[in-house]
């Protein structure tokens, strides 16, 4: 009797876990693998792109080929349905590696995209989110090193993350995690099409799900240093290049008398000295000033970081962090810690 009860309990557990006979299990070859999805909007409607890998089951000896499918609708679901209406097999989104967000995507659509990707269990949370001007053009590009442009982009992100020192790993769960945590600022790697093919061309800055600016590759390095999302890489100051490693980034503030934000970076590098540090401080200060000027808001996310790390800041300025930022000065200090 005990065994029957245990067996029944295990079976119930299985069924209650959402597993049914109708889970729709189908072999991979009965579906179209999607390598990347892209979103672009022009106001009321959204356009969804799915870079699909076509493998002909009757002639499997033929090489798989990518094909960009397009659907448009008032909702993301509607757009996907339009894509699937023209397909002989369902889409397999489990291997979708890229979620590309177009330049026209508004904050509202961005929020809905994130909700859709989170709720559709087929889309893996570890997909990379990227930014681009036109997902259609980007994902239509003929792949060079893999079977689909989406997987090429994945390769570029992984390779550049390790070589540049910038954490380009903007995986969907990380972005969603920041949003859920209340961080108003996040960045996505920005991809463009050049004559040579797909290229990673810096970062797109988002604040409150809205695209607020773009950073070149050099500025992306400086920006990453300021946000602490940097490991080791090359910093270009003028025509000089320095190989540095970020040991730590400390954030602090004062609000007695004048409001001031402090950033202290501990760096290591073979050719680092006080002069280089001074030049680096100037570059960082220049970038911060430019971002402050062009966006008018805290696109580096200093106040978010301070709220996380200093409870008293959150208590005193949490609700008025934007005002605090606007009225504050920025001071950066770079310290050298020795060999790389």
């Amino acid at each position: 009797m005990k065994k029957i009860l245990i067996s029944a309990a295990v079976l119930m557990l299985t069924l209650l876990s959402g597993c049914r006979f109708t889970t729709g299990g189908a072999a991979n070859d009965r579906r179209f693998i999607v390598a990347a999805i892209g979103f672009e909007s022009d106001g009321a409607l959204i356009t969804v792109y799915a870079e699909t890998i076509i493998i002909n089951s009757e002639t499997p000896e033929n090489e798989p080929t990518p094909k960009l499918l397009k659907g448009r609708g008032a909702t993301i679901n509607e757009a996907f349905e339009e894509i699937e209406a023209s397909l002989a097999r369902p889409l397999m989104l489990e291997h979708c590696g890229i979620i590309a967000v177009g330049g026209g995507v508004t904050a509202s659509w961005f929020d809905r995209i994130c909700d859709y990707c989170l709720n559709d269990r087929r889309i893996t949370l570890s997909s990379y989110m990227i930014s681009c001007d036109s997902p259609e053009k980007l994902l239509s590009k003929k792949p060079e090193s893999s079977v689909a442009a989406g997987y090429d982009i994945m390769g570029i992100i992984e390779q550049r993350s390790s070589s540049s020192g910038i954490f380009y790993d903007s995986r969907f769960f990380e972005i969603e995690g920041l949003r859920e945590k209340g961080r108003s600022v996040f960045t996505l790697p920005f991809f463009t099409l050049t004559a040579d093919g797909i290229s990673l061309d810096g970062l797109s800055l988002y604040r409150d799900d809205r695209l607020t600016g773009r950073l070149s590759t050099d500025d992306a390095v400086l920006y990453s240093l300021m946000t602490g999302n940097f490991d080791r890489g090359t910093v270009r100051i003028g025509t000089d290049e320095y190989r540095i490693r970020l040991r730590s980034a400390e954030y602090d503030y004062t609000d007695s008398g004048e409001n001031r934000l402090y950033l202290k970076l501990r760096l290591t590098g073979d050719s680092l000295d006080d002069t280089v540090c001074e030049r680096l401080e100037q570059e960082l200060d220049r970038l911060e000033s430019r971002l402050r000027l062009t966006s008018g808001t805290d696109v580096v996310g200093f106040t978010d970081i301070l709220s996380e790390r200093h409870t008293d800041f959150d208590e005193k300025h949490g609700r008025y962090a934007a005002e605090f930022y606007k009225s504050s000065d920025f001071t950066v200090e770079c310290l050298v810690s020795g060999g790389i």
Partner: protein, 502 residues
């Protein structure tokens, strides 16, 4: 006409030799190999005797020298009052001769190769040990071959098997108890143990189960195993079996019991622990490092063998994100054109693998190689090229099948578990597989063998209790016997104070 030996319980010999001879001729009336001879002793005393034996069961030369010749050349004066005793003690040249008045004992002795000596005017008879049947001899068991270590294996004669065990345990502590099981086969069964180490409760339980066993005949130890084991419907064994005397001796030294059945080289050992399924016979003769590596590999192979097809089906059908993208693409491409879903494909391949395995086992060795080439290479490759099956599934099932061969003691369980998990995975995905694994684990943890939990070694997470489970500890570290034994006799070594006093 009585048909069973016990039917003669109430029959007795008469004083007339002719009547007794007739009785035995009637008992063995349909036995064509019955031989008998009347001997007239006319020298020192006058008495007629008759010998009865079954041809082929006795050593005729021994019979002639130990019974016939002494009787025909009697010189001694009769000093014993009882004639039978006189013959046994003063005339026969046999090392083992018994006087008995019980007909069943006489019949049993004859059937077991002894010669029956009937004496005129005597209601008792003498049974003389003249066993001389042929045995297969000592050879290495095919299923338990070792690269290093003893190479001897049991044969079909229980007596010889007992001798082989006894040769390894030269102690009066080694006890054997004989039983006869089988109403018609009357098979001799020996229960062997070391008196000071055995757990009495287990011994009593075994005897009780053996006594309750009622059947026509016992031709192999499995006839007994299936009747006395715990969890008779389980896929896992709860009694051990071996054809090697060294293994039996080692088990006895751990306080276990061996059941030697006449007519089979397979000896039953109990209680049986689940971890024994992963032990190899030569684990104890090789370096503990090598043995431990092999043992870990066996556990891994068991897991792989039952799990790989199920996990692959779950990943390919339900949890597509589990496969790395490049593998998913490759699988998709290679599965192109295959008409069956992965589940059917997997079942088909498992079936083919089992067919090939079975035919390989039954085939003569010379044909086995050809079969593996035709079955494995030609059919496998042709089936992939014809797109009846896909290469990834072929690899998965072949890997699973080969891994299963690493654990021969669980071959039946591996086959059924593999099938069960595949079905569960095809229905419920990984949830089904995990449910299957959970239920299997619950069952394994619940299993008992003659009052001992089959996973008793895992009940205490310390080195001593795990020393002979997942790995094989060096001999100097194996100071205690397995946990199922009583605490008093657990230590394999002398107590410290006893050592000092030596």
């Amino acid at each position: 006409m009585p048909t069973q030996i016990s039917d003669y319980e109430n029959t007795a010999l008469s004083l007339s030799l002719d009547e007794n001879m007739l009785l035995f001729r009637n008992i063995f009336s349909k036995e064509s190999v019955l031989r008998f001879k009347k001997i007239e002793v006319r020298d020192n005393w006058r008495c007629d005797c008759a010998i009865f034996y079954l041809d082929g069961m006795v050593n005729v030369e021994l019979l002639n020298e130990s019974i016939v010749r002494p009787l025909l050349t009697v010189k001694q004066e009769r000093t014993e009052s009882r004639l039978a005793d006189y013959i046994v003690k003063q005339i026969l040249f046999a090392s083992e001769a018994k006087v008995t008045s019980k007909i069943p004992d006489m019949i049993r002795a004859m059937l077991y190769g002894d010669t029956l000596l009937l004496i005129d005017g005597c209601t008792e008879a003498v049974t003389v040990n003249t066993k001389g049947w042929r045995t297969r001899g000592i050879s290495e068991p095919d299923d338990e071959k070792v690269l290093q270590g003893p190479r001897e294996g049991f044969d079909e004669a229980a007596m010889f098997n007992l001798a082989m065990i006894r040769r390894k345990l030269l102690t009066p502590d080694f006890c054997t108890e004989m039983m006869r099981i089988g109403r018609r086969s009357d098979t001799i069964v020996f229960i062997c143990y070391l008196d000071s180490l055995v757990r009495k409760k287990t011994l009593d339980e075994l005897k009780k189960r053996l006594k309750e066993l009622d059947t026509d005949g016992i031709l192999d130890s499995n006839y007994i195993t299936e009747r006395i084991r715990d969890h008779p419907f389980s896929l896992f064994k709860t009694t051990g079996s071996t054809e090697r005397p060294d293994i039996v001796a080692a088990r006895l030294l751990e306080g276990r019991i061996a059941v030697v059945v006449d007519g089979t080289p397979v000896v039953i050992t109990l209680p049986y622990l689940f971890s024994e399924n992963f032990q190899s016979d030569e684990d104890y003769y090789l370096s503990y490092l090598v043995a431990s590596a092999g043992r870990v590999l066996r556990y891994l192979c068991f897991f792989l063998s039952v799990s790989i097809p199920a996990i692959f089906i779950a990943a390919a059908t339900f949890h597509k994100e589990l496969l790395p993208t490049s593998l998913a693409l490759s699988v998709t491409q290679l599965r192109g054109g295959v008409p069956f879903p992965p589940f059917a494909e997997c079942l088909l391949l498992i079936l083919v693998f089992e067919i090939l395995k079975e035919t390989g086992v039954r085939m003569p060795q010379s044909l086995g190689h050809a079969l593996s080439i035709v079955g494995g290479l030609v059919v496998g490759q042709a089936a992939v090229e014809a797109r009846i099956i896909s290469a990834p599934m072929l690899i998965v099932v072949a890997l699973s099948g080969i891994a299963g061969l690493m654990v021969p003691r669980l071959k039946g369980a591996v086959f059924y578990l593999r099938l069960l998990f595949v079905v569960l995975s095809a229905l419920f995905g990984l949830y089904g597989y995990i449910a299957g694994i959970t239920l299997t684990l619950i069952h394994i943890l619940d299993m008992r063998s003659f009052g001992t939990s089959c996973t008793v070694s895992l009940s205490k997470a310390n080195f001593q209790s795990l020393k002979d489970t997942v790995w094989r500890a060096p001999w100097f570290a194996m100071r205690t016997r397995p946990l199922f034994n009583s605490n008093i006799t657990r230590s394999r070594e002398k107590k410290a104070n006893e050592k000092n006093s030596d």
